[in-house]
Symmetry: C3
């Protein structure tokens, strides 16, 4: 039985990978800057984005595989899956995202091919983040094949949502707090709701041991450190410099407040590792949409402060209530780390958009909001036939946030229904939160 | 009691963070290179320091949070605090340092605001290093609130000392071996001396277990790897290239000699993890002041070799004697890793300064020692009214080292006295070296 | 006895390090770009390679010390040695490699000195990789002094082989899959063959425990993440951009297929940590030689797919057979991760070389294969008196692969014989795969 199941799983993803080869063979090509120069003129040395983009890309890459992977090793018996299945999903989504983005952005039917470059690799890593956030909500409760099915549909929907937000509604979200964090969190929560089982109630394996908490901190800290690259990686010039500064300050403030509140809400006044591992990061999410905007240093610090309050209180009071009342069991508390802080980020983005003016923002106004009117008679971007006011731009930002929530929740719910079919070997009872479901596990006897 | 204490702690740092918001709101601003361009000319893309400075900044950032944090996880029951409180202190000092530096360097009273940019972020991370080194000396023996009080006063004094050294005495210390390592080590040792308690004598919890030593090595190796960025991050051009080369070579040599001596000084000829975790890094400290100077490759290797000898012998013979005779209990042995190698770096800097000549150093002489005379009639820096000879510059370097030692020891002693007040909930007896004092600790039963 | 042995070990490597100081003092100098500018013109700021090369160098540096070091911590009782001795060997090889390369490339006898710069540091790190791969084959079965003796001879031979391949045969191997991976793997396997002992048969200490597998994953993932820097660090322009893209895609595909096959070959259909820790990386090796060539995205994905198949099947079926039949005991399975995928890379390089044409490859053809003829009458590189056709270049690539295999196997065999002398304190019986042979080990009692 198990062997047949495995064969099914193994053969399925092997065949999928062969299919990817075909899709890339027929539809993909190197971007011009990565193609051999066949014009005789040796010009593309300078046009390479590698020196500027690669260091930040690698930081984001570390966040995906070390950051998310180790953050989720906190469960005492689910470490192999946390870091291993995380790697599987991310490697899968990277490829799916490149293909899906190709279908969306390139005229494949017209015979074009979609280009691959370092910028697309960064976008593919962001796409992986979306799914890894959802993974956090269902950690320990689904099978590897369920995760891959979820990853497939979620990536398609998330890319369509991002396309709508950025290219149809012309909304700004430099650190992807809406398109990645809000989407990933609420999609995952919707899946978790549909798949809810009483088996998870006070499950003895849902908890940490001392050293699993330390492994988890490896993930937390790499996420924390490299978050300025996540929020600034897609920006440039003064926008990028601000994104780095704002994220750095927001996270520093968020960390202080997380420690403060963690002690305050504990009966014995001690810190809780769950808060430190997660809520310290909420400042990176909360400042994501506005990171490249002239928030001012104090504004960034304020965002981090508010994010920590929301996140710690969420872990302490809201999450238990959500499980009890709404039957949403959120293993990693992604609602508190990605969900609510992401909504906060989206709202802050709308507010900032409504306050933006050419006087104060200078050239950044048009850089960040291309659909704005530069002045009464000039569009920021001549190619777009839009002349939005500040208030209108703010409205579009809010619309984008709401659309993101809708697509995530409905898409997650439908995906959850699909995953409820009794064909996916969903773990139950004693196999919940346990690597034994997926892995040949080393025994712990030292000799 | 505990809850009231926690409330006091939590509320205090929460209020402090709110105060920081106000201070940043009234006193800070983005640096020009991070401000929106409101002049119409789109010029600040090129002026951004992000492409040049950011990769090295991130390396230093990793050193602070992963490096120091995990290095200190070697204690078997103090891992949460090592990596968690390390994060709290660093996030706190980052903000304090930016503010303190603002008061020192900007004309705040005249109405100016202090600028925030990637260079200031690097300086703020260096400021965190100072305090994290002192943390090593008192690890496991003080409460979180004591650490924050220490961090506050230490950051002020360390910034004033650095200002005196760099801007008044015009001394060179590119890798901050004097201003960060010597200061942090002797400040921490002075605090440890004042807080000395017999309770720490052969305390059963002051020791490692197998896997805590491996966690610690994560810290060691990231510190080791990124040290060239620490010593070279504030340099540029050929000075930066040399800083990277010298640090790389010094650390490689230091590692070999540490292993050699660790085996030699052990009765059974085995390596000691304490040496490997710490003394291998002494080469980075020892070459810090001279890293950008034309030491020559062999000179860098010699510095690393000497540093390893001092450091391993310090761990083996000096530290136990310091505890016994001087009643200085140095949990992480920061005297051997940061203290003595830092003094060595300072002396080497003075010697190199006394040997520097325009003939051999070319433009580097004035770049590194702006207070020197370029020749008999020309000052290196016209704005400074100084025309120092090589010997004079060497004297100023020594003076700066001695002032650093004095401020650190006196400042640390006074801070220690303040921390001795019976209001800080200093851990005692069984709570020494134990996370239970600060954390809700996961129990170790697997199921 | 043990103490005398240690003294011998310690004094030997200490003296060696002193000898290195002399060699560097008489033979090495800073590269021009790292020398002080003594011409008055301040020109070398711009000529520094630091901004372009340093970020990728640091990624490779992390691969050597964190990547290899932690990958090998999977053994339950050999973690100190994995990460510690790895550090010792790497720091040793860095210095040996710089000196050996000096003897090969600089006219030392004619009075020149060999230059040190960031590029040489990258080459020295690559040299360390070669030895660390061999270390994997003999992990747990040899003493520290044996490893240093092996490192010394292997580094000399590997550098001579690389010199022959690159500068005499003019073969391309941008990611050093032949010169580093094939060489290191087969050299190590030859040593392991000569040192084979029945003691290793089903040794109770040769295995993982739960948390040692997680430590190992830290190594795996950092190797996986930064592999594009390994394959692209020595390239530039569009070649570098392609190297990054190809490696990224190859590794993603390799990861999917590794998981697929790991489940397929297991009786109960579970994943095996050994496969995930190792075979996921084979895609980086397999694409190494051709990484900068216009493989096309699908070609890179195909390479990763094939690499995973070879590697997982190697672990499952070939390795046990090699131990049983050939008496080659390969602790980390380097044959499956570095050996066979490296041979695949070399063959792929030969095939690509035989297909390369000016039409399709443009300026990349001459950049990658300088010994080719640009057209019927023009040499790619006028300084070389070669006008090779595509097929000829393919032949030279194969020749280089075969020479690499020969030198590695013969050199490894001879080195093995030297290490068989009964003077090296080779561990036996209960000290196999056990840190007790080298370290003062922390006991595991928590209090």
């Amino acid at each position: 039985m198990a062997a047949r199941r495995a064969l099914k799983f193994g053969v399925t993803i092997f065949v999928l990978q062969l299919l990817f080869i075909l899709l890339f063979a027929f539809l993909a090509e190197y971007d011009d800057s990565a193609k051999p120069d066949t014009n005789g003129s040796y010009s593309n040395q300078s046009s390479s984005d590698i020196p500027l983009v690669y260091p930040m890309f690698q930081d984001v890459h570390v966040m995906m595989f070390i950051g998310f992977g180790f953050l989720m090793t906190f469960l005492k018996l689910y470490g192999y899956s946390a870091v291993g299945i995380n790697m599987l999903i991310a490697a899968f989504v990277l490829q799916v995202a490149l293909i899906v983005r190709g279908f969306i952005y390139a005229d494949l039917i017209g015979g074009d091919r979609f280009p691959i470059n370092i910028g697309e690799m960064l976008s593919a890593d962001f796409a992986a983040a979306t799914v890894l956030i959802s993974f956090g909500a269902v950690l320990g409760k689904v099978s590897a094949i369920q995760l891959l099915v979820m990853a497939f549909f979620e990536t398609i929907l998330a890319q369509l949502n991002e396309y709508t937000g950025v290219h149809k509604l012309h909304t700004a979200d430099i650190g992807e707090s809406m398109f990645v964090h809000v989407f990933g969190a609420y999609f995952g929560l919707a899946v978790a709701r549909v798949l809810y089982s009483d088996d998870t109630d006070e499950h003895p394996k849902e908890g940490a041991v001392y050293h699993s908490d330390l492994f988890s901190m490896i993930g937390t800290i790499f996420l924390w450190l490299y978050w300025p690259s996540f929020n600034g990686g897609a920006a440039s010039g003064d926008e990028q410099h601000r994104a780095v500064i704002n994220t750095y300050l927001s996270l520093a403030a968020c960390t202080i407040v997380t420690f403060a509140l963690s002690a305050i809400v504990d009966k014995k006044g001690r810190f809780d590792m769950v808060h430190i591992q997660n809520a310290t990061l909420a400042g990176g999410v909360a400042v994501g949409t506005t990171a490249d905007m002239p928030l001012e240093p104090w504004g960034a610090i304020l965002m981090g402060t508010v994010a920590a309050v929301i996140s710690v209180l969420g872990f302490k009071f809201l999450s238990p209530a959500m499980t009890r009342v709404l039957k949403i069991h959120d293993t990693c508390g992604v609602h508190n780390l990605h969900g609510m802080p992401g909504v906060l980020a989206g709202i802050a983005g709308a507010v900032m958009a409504a306050l933006a003016s050419k006087d104060k923002w200078g050239s950044s106004m048009c850089d960040i909001f291309p659909a704005r009117a530069e002045d009464d008679s000039t569009a920021c971007d001549r190619d777009l036939d839009t002349m939005r006011t500040a208030i209108e731009q703010g409205g579009y930002q809010m619309a984008s946030l709401i659309i993101t929530l809708l697509i995530a929740i409905v898409g997650g719910g439908l995906t959850g229904l699909l995953l409820k079919l009794p064909i996916w070997n969903m773990p139950q009872g004693d196999l919940l939160f346990d690597d034994e479901a997926n892995w040949e596990v080393a025994d712990n006897a030292v000799v």
